[in-house]
Symmetry: C2
Subunit: 447 residues, 2 copies
């Protein structure tokens, strides 16, 4: 298995009775998910996706990626939330967080439309100057503020640079399969389109065209990724928590939550895990953070952050637990050179592989944090391949659905995300929000 749960660093923090009781609840949650009758059941298309995905579209994605790779220096990917984090997590995991700075035969990939920052937009425009550009805009509705603004700007740039005819060959749109103005406009303009499925929510969409097109453009093997997800699906189907890592993870984190551990810190020991952490935070935070419930998702990269949040984790408030991603093999070994002078006193590790020092730091930290009162779930991950990324992503998705059902919430909606949007539309004078506007302006004036 590419993903396994090691529960040894939970010793003394969870007891058998609580685990047994939670296991029953996890089995019920799994049955509910399988029955397709649970809350949010119109958004469970991701469950069978690794088997049922649209093979024709998948082939088109590969062709489009080849075309993009040949025709540009920079691919600008426009999207926010689930239309941003998954692809970026994959590229950083399989390739590198320094992907854009490394020598390579694939285009640089920049993400836009995930902020309303003027500095971010103008800086990206300056980076694009004199470069050949392709665009992948990802938006189900086409009306989400952040990506819509970015698409206005970059579409105009491409039209100016290449003419409408030329731009048409460089703009790729991932959107609703038939509804929505973006789909209609794309068809008229002659842009190639890909589908955001109706039954897959944004945070579960990385293995659809939403994630796959940009991922393929980075030169990542999306066939292998889907195979990993498929094998993960097969493991997650099992109704045995000993053999099913997703059930196991969901069980332990809920036992910990009920024991008062209300913050979960996802821990990686490699900088390439940073955006996976961010993707995970959306997946779990948005799925569970409702009805005043849920585990608060935080994240760190060690050993970097052992020199930052390490102190708090070791000795601060004891309301947290860690989930550690333990990647067994990242890359070729690097041997620590000897220093005849031993200026730094480190000759006791001369000749050792750096990865050995890193995994020893992990073991040392697991023991230290256990001793400090922090339970640790360890997710053992084979490597940083595309296959493993697909496996890991599906594992987390499945565990999240089970976990949400255990918690008693709908893990597939996100009603709270609308609150700020409604206020924003009203304050900006969007037609239809006139009623709210006066009241909000009054409140704002009093501030």
């Amino acid at each position: 298995m590419s993903v396994k749960i090691n529960n040894k660093f939970l010793d003394g923090f969870v007891n058998e009775a609580d685990v047994a009781s939670m296991t029953k609840r996890a089995y019920s949650a799994q049955e509910l998910l399988k029955s397709k009758k649970g809350p949010g059941n119109d958004y469970i298309g991701w469950v069978e996706l690794p088997e049922n995905y649209d093979k024709d579209e998948f082939a088109r994605i590969k062709i489009a990626a080849e075309k993009i790779k040949k025709s540009c220096d920079i691919l600008v990917v426009i999207g926010i939330g689930g239309s941003y984090l998954g692809a970026r997590a994959a590229i950083e995991f399989v390739k590198s967080p320094l992907y854009n700075n490394l020598k390579k035969d694939t285009p640089d990939i920049y993400f836009a439309g995930n902020t309303i920052s003027t500095t971010a937009l103008t800086e990206l425009l300056s980076i694009c100057e004199g470069k050949d550009i392709c665009l992948n805009v990802i938006s189900k509705s086409g009306t989400t503020t952040e990506p819509a603004i970015a698409f206005r700007v970059f579409k105009a740039l491409l039209n100016e640079k290449y003419g409408e005819q030329g731009a048409r060959e460089r703009i790729f749109v991932t959107t609703d399969k038939e509804r929505g103005t973006l789909k209609q406009f794309s068809d008229e303009a002659g842009y190639e389109t890909f589908v955001v499925p109706d039954d897959v929510g944004g945070r579960y969409s990385v293995l659809t065209a939403v994630g796959l097109l940009p991922i393929a453009c980075a030169g990542i093997d999306i066939e292998a990724m889907m195979k990993g997800a498929y094998d993960s699906m097969k493991a997650c189907e099992l109704s045995d928590s000993e053999k099913n890592p997703a059930l196991s993870y969901a069980i332990y984190r809920n036992v910990l939550l009920e024991a008062g551990k209300s913050t979960e810190i996802l821990v990686g020991y490699e900088p390439y895990l940073l955006m996976l952490n961010e993707w995970w935070k959306q997946l779990y935070g948005e799925s569970e953070g409702k009805e005043h419930k849920g585990i608060f998702p935080a994240s760190v990269i060690f050993s970097t952050d052992l020199h930052s949040l390490g102190q708090y984790i070791q000795d601060g408030k004891r309301n947290l637990f860690e989930t550690v991603i333990d990647v067994k093999k990242s890359c070729e070994d690097f041997i620590i050179p000897n220093d005849p002078r031993n200026v730094d006193g480190l000759n006791f590790i001369s000749g050792e592989a750096l990865s050995h020092v890193n995994s020893t730091a992990m073991l040392a930290t697991l023991i230290a944090h256990n001793d400090g009162g922090v339970p640790n779930i360890v997710v053992e991950v084979k490597d940083k391949s595309a296959y493993t990324f697909g496996y890991l992503v599906y594992f987390f998705e499945y565990a999240c659905a089970i976990s949400g059902y255990i918690l008693g919430v709908n893990p597939f909606d996100q009603p709270g995300v609308e609150a700020y949007k409604k206020n924003m539309f009203a304050l900006l004078g969007k037609p239809g929000y006139e009623g709210m506007r006066a009241e909000l302006e009054k409140r704002a004036l009093n501030k």
Copy 2:
């Protein structure tokens, strides 16, 4: 003032009596700090630093920065924790998170030695191929594992590339002023050295040579930064919480903590604030997270993360509050173009400045999160200048010291950071740790 506290989004969450009572405690904490007799009083050199800093060394820093700017394509900065986060936060804040990808007349700056990752090290080495390199290694003792390994590797690279004579002109060492093997070795090797002061802890060190040399190499005006810190110091000296934003911030966050809000999320609306968030997390987490006390520091960048952690913040467990960095002016305005077709329905904001939409999103979110039960402290910040960065950094440092004294901890030590290090040294076979090793290996084997 470059930094002001807006408390309007605390309405209904804090009451006058609690604030009055906490204000008294803040004044006592301030007196304790000023008396120089509080816990950790051997590490309060940062308090008067903006006035007392070593002017001769400051001049040398500027000269060294000019030399580095002229002689390399890439400056590799080796350091971890406080010897990493401050400089990176400054460069991203004043310049850009895309600093290395933007056209500029200053060197690219990469940070190394802040991780034990093999991928990170080998990727950086490949980026350095064929480039002219300078090195700034920052380590008080010279024996911290992560930077020491990186220094071994990059020192060897420079010696090989330029010869020992040539490398000498390219290696700059920031370390203890007299003790430690790194200082001794640097003097022998002929490297120029700068000082990590004895009375300034890592997380308070950004305004010393630790931060200033790399910051100056990015072309940032460090004189202006020190002037900002100086003016901030003058504001923070005031014994009036109405006029002193640091007292005000310390008071509100402790009132909220005592009301059960045990997680603080630092919120920015610009990607250039991301590393400031990380710097802040070390400052507060390491200063307060001890004796099973302290506020857990988390962070987000909105609107990006409104599509990620937004749901949780709006509707999840109500044990959190937000502190929002509201930068009033980031850069020149960017006007949102009109779209005659109005495909995205956004023509109601055509012709508006993007910054107006961003600040409206902030206001909308403040109101929405208040309505959801989340108190918000707003830190109003004038702009993203070097002056303001210095001002803001000193403000946060001072507020942290006050806050730690209110909490009743020593805000200047970090005893918990040693726990994992000791285990790691023992497991790696460092001389002197033989006793621990057998026991830890036995524990590890049982895992």
